[in-house]
């Protein structure tokens, strides 16, 4: 006997199509977020590198003594709820360890990157 689709079959088909479309939309909505995350991380890394470059350029004697110390950078305004700080600690008798932290608000809460370098009394940039 010839018959059409039952209501159950039709509903199941619509449900399957809906799930596929929902999946595609979710994927689509992640695309700009992923791109933004990558760019933010790049900017944060650049801020930290510039600070390390300045500290190395300034030399051992000019390292700040009261840390953690917050610092500013023109690029920080391009990151959401961002802050930056650096910590100086004794590493050896004439060498100090510098940690530079940059935090910002990502899509899944606060994110932080840290760059570490050693700055020695005897060596530095010319």
């Amino acid at each position: 006997m010839s018959r059409g689709f039952s209501l159950i079959e039709a509903t199941a088909a619509v449900a399957v199509i809906s799930i596929v479309m929902l999946g595609t939309s979710l994927l689509l909505s992640r695309l700009p977020i992923t791109g933004r995350e990558a760019r933010d991380q790049d900017v944060a890394l650049r801020v930290a590198r510039t600070r390390l470059e300045l500290l190395q350029g300034g030399g051992y004697a000019a390292l700040p003594t009261t840390t953690p110390m917050a610092f500013n950078d023109s690029l920080l305004t391009t990151l959401a709820s961002s802050s930056a700080s650096l910590t100086v600690a004794d590493y050896a008798s004439t060498t100090k360890r510098v940690d530079v932290n940059v935090s910002w608000l990502g899509s899944k809460g606060m994110r932080t990157i840290t760059l570490t370098s050693l700055i020695s009394q005897s060596a530095g940039l010319p």
Binding site: P32, G35, D42, V43, R46, T50, G57, S74
Partner: protein, 185 residues
């Protein structure tokens, strides 16, 4: 109930309605996807070329002997300023060994929306003489020096901004970095 019959008007209407709704949703998905993807592509390309440009500036600055006030290149004379940087670098051979007394010259400069790099290398140097376009969507380039006499400069602050257009939307990318010369006498 064994007679054959067609759809009623109500049934046809409902089916038509659902189909139209599904088509509209699909079209919307397609349009949104195209727009988001196109924008991301433009933005990523621009951010990439901003990064490449900054890397090229860094690669020229770090090994430089110093900044020159100006230098006569075969394509014209470049004078260091806020949008032009003229550097003198020690020539190096293929294994990276410095060739004493020989110099290469690099100028990084902005012309309208282009960021350009001119290299003039000594014949024995591994660097290649030529002009290269580093970026094509430059909005602004700002170079500042830590000394009013640029020949004594030990660090350079490079800031660049790039703009790209997509469907009337403007995407812009700003980068800024402090670079210390590693080879100053």
């Amino acid at each position: 109930m064994n007679r054959t019959r067609g759809f009623t008007l109500l049934e046809t209407g409902i089916v038509l309605g659902i189909t139209v709704f599904a088509m509209a949703a699909l079209t919307n998905l397609y349009v949104t996807f195209t727009r988001v993807y196109g924008y991301e592509q433009v933005y990523t390309g621009m951010a990439g070329s901003a990064n490449e440009s900054m890397a090229a500036i860094e690669a020229a600055v770090l090994p430089a002997d110093g900044v020159l006030v100006s230098h006569a290149f075969s394509t014209g004379t470049f004078t260091t300023g806020t949008s032009t940087l003229v550097l003198e670098l020690p020539s190096i051979d293929a294994s990276g060994v410095t060739l004493f007394g020989l110099k290469d010259y690099i100028a990084i400069y902005a012309t309208s929306t282009y960021l350009m790099r001119r290299v003039e290398a000594n014949v024995q140097s591994v660097r290649v003489t030529g002009t290269k376009q580093l970026a094509g969507s430059l909005a602004s380039l700002s170079l500042t020096y830590d000394n009013a006499d640029v020949t004594l400069a030990k660090s350079i602050t490079a800031s660049l901004r790039m703009n790209a257009q997509y469907n009337g939307q403007t995407a812009s990318s700003t980068l800024s970095q402090v670079l210390y010369l590693r080879n100053t006498p």
